[in-house]
């Protein structure tokens, strides 16, 4: 009989050995699949790494994918740390995009020094407000925030579609001939384009830069502030927190809003760094909000690890598109990416739990077993 038990102590070497082991596992499993489908595993791996990270311009391209994943990853990590399951980063990102593009249209004749901070702020506020809805429902009515935040993703998706396709909204371009041919959002003025910082030939999007500071901020918050401590206590036991005099309801709404603010910032960055227009179809196809949940899980909710994992997943996504071709279907790329993530998460299990063969020692529910243990 195989049993899985929680490790009482996590040994140090495991923390290093397990990720390496799971990487090897992923390589072996996916190589078998590649060989079975008639592809050269060596060439495939080389190309995935090269085009994802190391060839010219690859890292800049990876940062484009990693920026939204970093911010939605932080959104998930911020909430999950308190055992509050915000699945709504997707919708909060849409709302952040709505807020940031709206303020940029309103301030289009202003200078970048005014427009860009306003966009950042608008993204934070709209994302936070959207997340505060399931937060408040959780805190005051004890609804399941997994369901409510997930449902609001669909509402958010319909909202951005409505703004561009179904209405003559403030966001929609109506004046040009081409916008009558196909519905479009208003393109933002150049002053609303966020700067990209050139570091050693790599273009770092402004949103990624903010994200790195945000990660440090989140780490500080949970590590060395009263707010973070109380949030962790609530996460461990809400009733204990209540007994200790912590205002749990406020904290739940605040943490959800904080989480939503990160996701909303992701939406603002999509507009300011990359798209420069409210693009309902592209935002929904990308599904960065859901990607952020994977990022946070792989990063074990550690904000700094979120940065690394976002970069890895961004590179994996770009490298994956590079692998695709007439004889390399998208499904096979997805299988490889899935295997890598699966092995990484399975490895995670091994760090925290041990697998034992046979009966657990000393633990028993049946009197007969207890007697036998006693006899032994």
């Amino acid at each position: 009989m195989i049993r899985i038990e929680r490790r009482l102590r996590e040994s140090r070497w495991l923390v290093v050995a397990v990720p390496i082991g799971s990487l090897i596992g992923a390589v072996i499993l996916s190589s078998i699949i590649l060989l079975a489908t008639g592809h050269d595993p060596l060439a495939t791996w080389q190309r995935l790494l090269e085009r994802g990270f190391f060839s010219e311009g690859a890292f800049s391209a990876t940062l484009v994918q990693a920026t939204p994943l970093l911010l939605t990853g932080l959104a998930a990590a911020a909430a999950f740390r308190m055992q509050t399951w915000n699945i709504g980063a997707e919708g909060q990102l849409y709302l952040g995009a709505v807020g940031a593009s709206g303020i940029a249209i309103a301030l289009q004749s202003q200078s970048a020094a005014l427009v860009i901070p306003a966009m950042v702020l608008a993204g934070l506020v709209t994302g936070a407000a959207w997340a505060a809805i399931p937060g408040a429902l959780r805190a005051f009515f004890r609804t399941n925030e997994i369901i409510t935040s997930l449902m609001l993703n669909y509402v958010g998706g319909l909202l951005i579609t409505y703004l561009i396709f179904d209405s003559h909204s403030y966001w929609r371009e109506l004046s040009t001939f081409t916008s009558r041919v196909f519905p479009q959002g208003k393109y933002l003025s150049p002053s609303a384009a966020w700067p990209s910082l050139q570091i050693a030939g790599i273009g770092v999007p402004f949103g990624f830069f903010i994200g790195m500071f945000a990660a440090a901020g989140l780490w500080m918050l949970y590590r060395s502030t009263r707010f973070g401590f109380e949030a962790r206590v609530i996460g461990d036991s809400r009733s204990a927190a209540h007994y200790a005099g912590i205002r749990t309801r406020r904290k739940i709404v605040a943490v959800m809003a904080l989480s939503g603010a990160f996701a909303g910032l992701g939406g603002a960055s999509e507009i300011g760094d990359f798209r420069h227009v409210l693009d309902p179809r592209g935002l929904q196809q990308a599904s960065f909000g859901y990607g952020g949940i994977v990022v946070a899980a792989l990063a074990r909710l550690n904000p700094f690890a979120v940065i690394v994992v976002a970069l890895l997943l961004g590179g994996l996504s770009n490298g994956g598109f590079s692998l695709q071709g007439a004889d390399f279907p998208a499904g096979l790329v997805g299988t490889l990416q899935g295997l890598i993530l699966f092995c990484a998460l399975a490895g995670e299990l091994l760090v925290h739990y041990k697998i034992r063969l046979g009966r657990p020692a000393g633990v028993s529910h049946k009197p007969a077993d207890a007697a036998r243990v006693g006899a032994a």
């Binding site: 072996i28 060596l42 227009v277 196809q285 071709g325």
Partner: protein
């Protein structure tokens, strides 16, 4: 047990080697000319993307070993497109076709960066010296499909599952209605918007809602054949879109609008190879074969087939054009005077429904 371990070691070594970055991009003259396609959906979607991929296969077939084609599918609209294009350029592709409107901005940016590569954008409007644009007048075939729907409907109540309330789709619905009214005077076309190009579940629900309202023939402008599945359940005759979708429900299949992108792709790739490629805006139609109707289903009577084929020939020869006045809008007011042909600009920005269409051209 040993083998996988050794394999893993090799893999890791490969990973490290790959990390060192050994890009050997030697382009010699003997290598085939490379052409690439970027799809928003999957190549096997039985609809829009498949029609394009059939075109790509025709290029491989007709141009043989001189050409090497590839494609990228499920590419999300937005910044990812630029990276996919960069990757394709790095692989040595010299002509790149993008087949979704949402790819346009990225294609325009990349065209400016790579003047030696030819770019082609389907359903767009931006052009540059190395960025061309192409699309097909689906409305020609939609008119003929409408004729089949009108003839199949006993009550003259036709349903239409439509993606977005945009001119491209509005003119298709208008063409269906005008066609239906020739074979069934006074026929109406009831519209339900799905707000998606491809979502089989939503498309099916929309079709079901129309069928429950009593339509007795149903058409669609979606990328999946889900409407046919809904029609099959109640035995109502239906028409398809993009590709020949008859196999979903062959007994009740009428016909459908299909795109033949292949000949255009072959021509453009050839031109890119021999250096005669020029930019432009190409609007194909039934005359040049970019647009056609799918083979008729068995339930379409011979007399109706003859009538439709005669109209098809008239469209091809140019002796007939579907958007010629008098055309009335939903309120009955004359929008296009008798004998006047609508201009291309008017068609491309059409935002009103003709008489007999039930629904709002603004969506909802």
């Amino acid at each position: 047990m040993k083998k996988p371990v050794r394999l893993a070691a090799t893999m890791l070594a490969a990973a490290v080697l790959g990390a060192c970055g050994t890009t050997n991009s030697t382009t010699s003259t003997s290598q085939p000319f490379k052409a690439a396609w970027i799809y928003v959906g999957t190549a096997g979607d039985h609809g829009w993307t498949q029609a394009h991929d059939d075109g790509r296969k025709l290029v491989e077939q007709q141009l043989g070993t001189g050409v090497k084609t590839t494609f990228k599918e499920n590419v999300p609209e937005g910044p990812q497109v630029e990276q996919v294009v960069e990757d394709l350029v790095r692989d040595g592709n010299k002509i790149i076709f993008a087949t979704s409107f949402g790819f346009q901005d990225a294609m325009a940016n990349e065209a400016a960066k790579h003047p030696d590569v030819k770019f082609e954008q389907a359903t767009g409007f931006k052009t540059a010296s190395n960025l061309a644009e192409y699309f097909g007048a689906a409305e020609d075939a939609d008119y003929l499909t409408g004729m089949a729907l009108g003839a199949a409907s006993k009550k003259g109540k036709i349903g239409f599952v439509a993606p977005f309330p945009i001119p491209e789709v509005i003119r298709e619905i208008n063409a269906v209605a005008l066609g239906a009214q020739t074979t069934h005077p006074g026929a109406t076309v009831q519209v339900v918007w799905t707000n998606t190009w491809f979502d089989p579940t939503k498309e099916k629900q929309a079709a079901q809602s129309l069928l429950s309202r009593g339509v007795d023939a149903i058409g669609q402008g979606q990328d999946s054949p889900a409407t046919g599945e809904a029609a099959k359940a109640v035995g109502v005759k239906w028409s398809g879109y993009d590709s020949d979708q008859s196999n979903v429900a062959p007994d009740i299949w009428l016909t459908g609008t299909v795109y033949h992108w292949g000949p255009y792709y072959v021509k453009r790739v050839k031109e890119a190879m021999n250096g005669s490629w020029k930019t432009g805006s190409y609007y194909g139609n039934i005359g040049d074969g970019m647009i056609d109707i799918a083979p008729f289903g068995q339930s379409v009577q011979q007399s109706v087939r003859d009538q439709i084929n005669a109209k098809k020939e008239a469209l091809k020869s140019g002796s007939f054009y579907e958007f010629t006045g008098p055309l009335k809008d939903q309120s009955g007011a004359v929008k296009i005077a008798a004998g006047t042909k609508m201009t291309l600009a008017q068609i491309l920005s059409m935002d009103w429904f003709v008489q007999g269409v039930i629904g709002s051209p603004k969506g909802g």
